[in-house]
Subunit: 238 residues, 2 copies
Amino acid sequence: MTRATKAGAVAPEDEAGTSPAPAPAKRRGAGKRNAAVTRQRILDVAMAEFAEHGFSGSRIERICAGADINVGMIYHYFGNKDDLYLAALEASYKVIRDREQTLDVDAAEPMLALKALVELTFDFLSTDPYFVRLIMNENLMMGRTARRSSTIPHMTRPLLDSLRTILKRGQKEKVFRRNIDAENLYVSILGLCFIHVSNRYTLSSMFQHDFSEPDWLAKRKLTVVDVVSSYIADRSGG
Amino acid sequence: MTRATKAGAVAPEDEAGTSPAPAPAKRRGAGKRNAAVTRQRILDVAMAEFAEHGFSGSRIERICAGADINVGMIYHYFGNKDDLYLAALEASYKVIRDREQTLDVDAAEPMLALKALVELTFDFLSTDPYFVRLIMNENLMMGRTARRSSTIPHMTRPLLDSLRTILKRGQKEKVFRRNIDAENLYVSILGLCFIHVSNRYTLSSMFQHDFSEPDWLAKRKLTVVDVVSSYIADRSGG
DNA sequence: TAACAAATTAAGTACTTACTTAGTTTGAGA
DNA sequence: TCTCAAACTAAGTAAGTACTTAATTTGTTA
């Protein structure tokens, strides 16, 4: 009974350090017992934990402490560590998918639409505290969990569809060159927007400056947009 | 005193029996005991282990089995798991650095030299079995080991110097546009060459095909070279 | 309000893991 | 051939680690 002061209802407190408050998850709000709220709180903390430590570096105990719950709850709601990781990965993918839907593909000129898409990708990847790291970890695990997921494999669809629409319009209006493969273009955009986030630490070591600095990121964003638009611009003189 | 039969002096022998000999590394060759050879064998297996499982997913026991040595040897030669990982990371970086030196910067036209550099990077990253995964893992660990290393932080120097030389020449000859930042360009090249290797599994899930297929890689290489050269080409009409 | 099912918990268990210790074996130099 | 330091080994240990079990608490509904 040493836990006397539990009544204090100390909220999870973040503790993940770096990230901007994963979600203040109302503890002891509407009701002391609430399956949905507890489940969500576990998920929020798990996302942060898996993003920060990878799968095998993550600790069930630490997630429990962060979410202020008992170990049993994790197994009650998620079954095991693998399935909790799957849930966290899917939840993280859902964020970017939702963001993508906000894009208005048919607005303005094709070149502007494309730039908007590149900028959205750039901003998302360099802003979201979990996504890039979760993807990296998932790839280190050879995608075994993404392959198991029923939702993740289709994740790129909306963005890829948008890209195809923009490309087709741009080619029709002769501002984009022909023979651009949408998939390959998407991979290039992803690479250009991903690398300085994924490899920020080793790159910082090499170039001796901080790759998360806003000024540097702003300049980098201009470059990325420039690279992509130089590539797709039609220079046939038509 | 249950250790009686030790007198039999049954040398470890092993007769190579059990394991599938992961690395033929001359065992029982020139000499049964050889510090340098043993150390190197540990390092080779450790590189593969850390690349495959990441730091915390890697197992000392598994490295011992793979290198056909006793646990104690690892601590004898490397001190602890952290320092073994550092040694493996440095060894892996050394491979790319050596490869870079083969590049002849002053040969041919600047555009061809640049393309050669891009292709070298592309080929190295998609061919070397360890490098990309080790870098990914190191970044997931927030570069704490790369920062500790005395050799790694300078790794990009040669490649970056080559890039600067090529850029300068190309701008002088008016085939490259001005105001190209070498560092930013290098990051772009790295991103374009890295992403389909680093994210091969999640991308394969999304696009439903194998991203390590030679045909696809060949096409991808053409695209990457195209993207980079479109970007740096001088289109001012000079 | 009584009763039940679901939420929640304490205290485990069985197993893994990095690392140590205290010794034995052997190549090489004198 | 003798000696000895260095290479090498067997068999631990202590501290995690994911997961379980058997019970207690509490919101809800009849």
